[in-house]
Amino acid sequence: MDRRDFLKTIGLAGASVIAPISLSSEADSTGPYEGPLYFFFNAIGGWDTTCLCDPKGTAELNRSFTAAGIQAAGNIAYAPMAANERFFRKYYSELLVLNGMDMSSPNHAVGQRYMWTGKIDSKRYPAFGALIAGARAPAAAMSFLSFGEYDATGDLVPLSRIQSKDQLLDVLDPGAIEGQADRRYHERFAADHIQEALRARHARRAGLETLPRRRAARSTLYTGQLAADSIRRMREFLPAEMPVETNPRGLRGASTMAIAAMRAGLCVSANFPLAVFDSHDDNDAKQAEGLDLLLSDVDFAIEAADAAGLRDRLTIVIGSDFGRTPRYNAADGKDHWSVGSALVMGPGIRGNRVIGGTDGGLEPLRIDPETLAATSRDDGVRLRPEHLHHSLRRHAGVAESAGADRYPLLEEPLDLFA
């Protein structure tokens, strides 16, 4: 009896918390994935929103510029710092800015978890990248690709990590000796016999497993082995020369590999961490350096996606743990402040808009749940990560998915993207 039959027999289908991923999902196909794609840029440490998309220009909040220096691209105001001008002028028409997001915690770990899952008080919840990957293409070879930091999967999809192109090359064709396609470890007939023997063994042994953990582990391994062949498709999309990073922490190589995986139909979502924003001292210089790197590498990724023909499928979310205090500390730094911002762009998301905001003390303003305009009315709501995630789920068409059911969100949805 296979697992599906087993669960059916005892009326517990879908009930297992450790079901093998391929069997707990809606899709088992390993064909090229052609649906919507997602990039998540994680500005780790807590960016200073006043140095980016929520500038104030008062001496207490910003020493690098005055109110008069605040710039705007379309309807989006931005701080005259770092690479902001180039970025906002280039993308404002596509950008949705969420300001005054109540992150409810000044702690890095909690802030990151809240930002990327939409749930503050559970460690089980998946990052949205995992949720969408699990719903769209759980069996794709690198469905959720992580380059580090917050990448919880909620057991919805296997997590894949890549560090460099070099380490990938040999693995893309594991039957080739030292990556040389014309030198094979086994001749074709022998390789086929080995694969057939593995398949037959799995069929024999899987039926004998009775312990749920062993059964799930065996099936997950076999599912991975079945999909392993598909990663060869990535080879043709990896550039001969990888881009030169402008900073050792740069994300250009990472986004290049993610785009190659997406072009090969192997990947739904990728997350890119940049841990340079925790500016407890020398805030303005550190934020400027970090934002410069972040925005220029986001720009690089968008350009590369455009060149690869993926732009019209790609949604990008840029966010951080939280913001920074509305004052400088004695070390010219700023500490943690549980109000943040997020930038979102992609097909179907109306740009050139700012939703939410903060007052002069960087406290979040309430918004009208219908018009999304700032309001002082009591029935106004604070913008929270739950609202962003409700919108992401609806926009991606996965709000009713098994993963979304398993990991429900609080707060009433707001129609942020339309």
């Binding site: 409810s104 580090g148 312990l211 407890h280």
Partner: protein, 774 residues
């Protein structure tokens, strides 16, 4: 071994051979018993809505029947009361003068009585216990919960259960018997040997197990835990928890650079060497020595059989010869081999504050690299360190104490919100005193006693309600360490870490969603696992904090030994419980490296490296960690990892098979008894091939299954026959691929395709679940 056995299955009926019975899936309640069930729903005036599970007319939670006492001990206490209430509402705590004081520090019946009284008393029209945590009625701690939190939902459910007791029968009463198939002594020892020492059982060990059975396990495990491989595993496992190996992958900074130059003028001694004189090698050796201080302390304590509490109380630091030079404490003759970077010994660091002061060693707490790994800032004031101490040594994530949904901006006008705003102070009341104990260590971990004392605008230094005595200030961390190891949570934390080391996963979290369909079932699984952990922690303490004793207790537990079920689970409770047992786990990159070495007698080298150990090769790709930005292992294989294992299987077979076949029979490492010329067409040779395959199954997979051995033999036969014909026809080459005959002198050619057939067999076996999993 006396005292090491932990029953984690409630009442257990042990069968003589390999089956253990799981009777009574739900552990006997901590308090009460069935008498604790409240059976009269009348008079309920609280509907339990608002985030809690709805309590139906029959008192069931969304259809699931949960007895009050079990909900209290398994969910309310660990999910709300212990993390959110106990720190203040205990004798001697900040709220001791209030009318809510919990007399005990555990989920006792006395505490349940106090909580039940609160649940039935009212403030206005609301239960008192639901008003105060929101900051109502002048709650001294301000809001510690928000209504949207799961934890608040648990509180609401508790009130509902007290006021509207369930009429239903708890599922546990009718829970069917669930019977585990258990690993026998030999299989269990093989699993432990590979897991803990990275080796296969020896023939002598297997013989002893066959003769003595269960009785041989404990002494053999004790011997196993004296081997170098065990200590290698110990370092690796504890790094997964402490993440102190981060400095080993950092090529930009050097841990010696963070030492106080005035105190340790020789800290960068290796820079005086020329390149030819070994500057780089010495620098790396010093890096290892300084970085590994905390992990080597753990190894030292375990190796010497000291109480594990010494990891926090040791009055020394572990150094290798090169780190000793950086600290300025190197003395000729102290080390057996002063050039060996892997030789560590304890030393006391010199004073940096005048001749009278002695470095206030407190084990890991004062280990320079632990302090540097978890740095501070002028505004953080050691709170990050305090958080990590709670996490590492008290099994407490203080961030879980934070009221989610709280609004820190509401306190913007306060000069000192961490002390004066109740929503901040609820956590800082715990964190800041412990942080204050680190006061004599600066932001990057240097000992730098403060001339002006600690900040007076926060909670004063101390721990768990006790203030740091003024006279103890110069030895604050020593004072703290004594209290940490005396706290029951220390043993619990170490037990949870030991569980992770053996089972490859963290213990189950407290069920946090009473509204979930499977809440009762999760609760049952959680309780059952808690029984195992509590029992193991007790064994650990009773054995004088002997870490090996703790590991042994867990290894011998039915959960670790579980290999199957005698009957399929027939309900959700049984399923959740069944899911919580067993320790199958994907081999980590480090474990697969050791298993290959053990199975083939030599390390696998690929592109001049042991590729699973190298970050830029397969270590991260195969789910490993760098202890920095990638700090959590991947435990479920993805297709990329499957591809890595396929490459490994192919290359290992290619590299090792020819070489082994060339060796005299008496020197074979894994292909026993066969001649390279042996072909299945010869009956005698066919028998030898079968025996060799059976031995391979045993060696690589720990398996003795005639059907599987026959299937593998069939693979050999097919490939050899097809290959030989192909060679004869000229379609296949006569010679092996270059890479496969490197190091082989006589078997470069393979006219009968036997060598390649053996390569195929080995490659096949290395890709099986049994090889790739522990």
């Amino acid at each position: 071994m006396r005292g090491t056995e932990v029953a984690d299955v409630g009442p257990v009926r042990r069968r003589p051979s390999i089956v253990i019975a799981l009777l009574g899936l739900l552990v006997t309640p901590a308090v009460g018993g069935c008498e604790g069930l409240i059976s009269d729903p009348a008079g309920a005036d609280f509907d339990g809505s608002g985030g809690a599970a709805a309590v139906g007319g029959d008192g069931a939670l969304d259809g699931a029947c949960v007895p009050l006492d079990r909900f209290y001990s398994a969910s309310l206490w660990p999910g709300v009361i212990r993390p959110r209430c106990v720190s203040c509402h205990r004798p001697g705590g900040p709220a001791q003068a209030s009318d809510f004081v919990l007399p005990d520090d555990d989920a006792t019946i006395a505490n349940l009585e106090v909580l039940s009284r609160l649940a039935t008393s009212e403030l206005g029209a609301r239960p008192r216990i639901l008003v105060k945590p929101l900051g109502g009625d002048g709650h001294g701690g301000g809001p510690v919960l928000s209504e949207s939190e799961t934890a608040y939902g648990l509180l609401e459910t508790f009130v509902a259960l007290v006021r509207s007791p369930p009429e239903c029968e708890p599922a546990a009463v009718d829970a069917p018997e669930l019977t585990l198939v258990q690993l026998g002594p030999s299989a269990l020892f093989r699993k432990a040997a590979l897991s803990l020492a990275g080796r296969l059982p020896t023939d002598a060990e297997l013989e002893r197990l066959a003769v003595e059975g269960e009785g041989a396990l404990a002494p053999l495990l004790a011997e196993l835990m004296r081997e170098p491989g065990f200590y290698e595993r110990l370092r690796e496992a504890w790094n997964d928890i402490l993440l102190t190996d981060a400095a080993l992958v950092d090529r930009v900074t050097h841990p010696a650079g963070y030492l106080d130059e005035a105190a340790y003028p020789d800290r960068l001694w290796f820079n005086a060497l020329s390149i030819e004189g070994g500057r780089r090698e010495m620098s790396d050796a010093a890096r290892l020595g300084l970085t590994r201080g905390p992990l080597e302390l753990i190894v030292h304590v375990v190796r010497e059989g000291r109480p594990f509490t010494e990891i926090l109380t040791a009055d020394y630091v572990m150094v290798n010869p090169h780190a000793a030079r950086s600290y300025g404490v190197f003395r000729e003759g102290d080390f057996a081999d002063p050039d060996d970077p892997h030789e560590f010994r304890p030393v006391r660091l010199p004073s940096v504050d005048g001749a009278a002061a002695v470095f206030p060693h407190a084990g890991i707490l004062t280990s320079p690299y632990y302090l540097h790994r978890y740095p501070s800032t002028p505004t953080n004031r050691n709170r990050h360190r305090a958080r990590m101490v709670y996490l590492h040594f008290l099994d407490t994530d203080v961030m879980d104490l934070s009221p989610s949904g709280a609004d820190p901006t509401e306190v913007a006008e306060l000069d000192n919100p961490v002390r004066d705003a109740s929503q901040c102070s609820v956590c800082h009341r715990l964190i800041d005193p412990l942080a204050g104990a680190f006061q004599d260590f600066d932001d990057i971990g240097r000992w730098a006693p403060r001339e002006d004392g600690w900040y007076d605008d926060s909670f004063p230094p101390g721990f768990d309600g006790a203030l740091l005595p003024t006279e103890e200030t110069p030895r604050a961390l020593q004072w703290l360490a004594q209290r940490l190891v005396g706290d029951p949570r220390f043993a619990e934390a170490v037990t949870a870490h030991a569980f992770q080391i053996l089972f490859g996963r963290r213990p189950l979290p407290t069920p946090d969603d009473p509204g979930a369909d499977d809440f009762t079932a999760r609760l049952a699984a959680y309780e059952r696992q808690q029984a195992l952990l509590s029992g193991a922690a007790e064994v650990f303490v009773e054995a004088g904090f002997d870490f090996k004793h703790l590991l042994t207790a867990l290894i011998l537990s039915p959960s670790y030994r579980a290999a199957g079920l005698e009957a399929e689970p027939e309900d959700l409770v049984s399923l959740r419980v069944a899911e919580s047992v067993g320790a199958p786990q994907l081999l980590t990159p480090e474990k697969i490296t050791r298993k290959l070495r053990a199975a083939f007698g030599e390390p696998w080298i690929y592109r001049y490296q042991q590729p699973f150990l190298e970050l830029d090769r397969f270590r991260l790709l195969y789910g490993g960690i760098d202890s920095r930005s990638t700090a959590v292992r991947i435990s479920k294989p993805n297709p990329l990892m499957a591809s890595v294992s396929q490459l490994m299987a192919n290359d290992v077979a290619c590299r090792f098979v020819g070489r082994d076949l060339e060796r005299p029979l008496s020197e074979r490492a894994f292909l026993f008894g066969v001649d390279p010329e042996d072909r299945p067409s010869d009956p005698a040779a066919a028998a030898r091939i079968r025996e060799a395959i059976a031995a391979l199954h045993e060696r690589l997979l720990g398996e003795d299954d005639p059907e599987e051995i026959a299937a593998t033999q069939d693979l050999f036969v097919r490939i050899q026959a097809e290959g030989a014909a192909s060679v004869a026809s000229g379609a296949s080459p006569l010679a092996l691929e270059n890479r496969c005959w490197q190091g082989v002198s006589s078997l470069k050619q393979d006219p009968h395709y036997t060598v390649r057939a053996w390569m195929a067999v080995v490659a096949y076996l290395l890709q099986t679940y049994e090889f790739l999993h522990e």
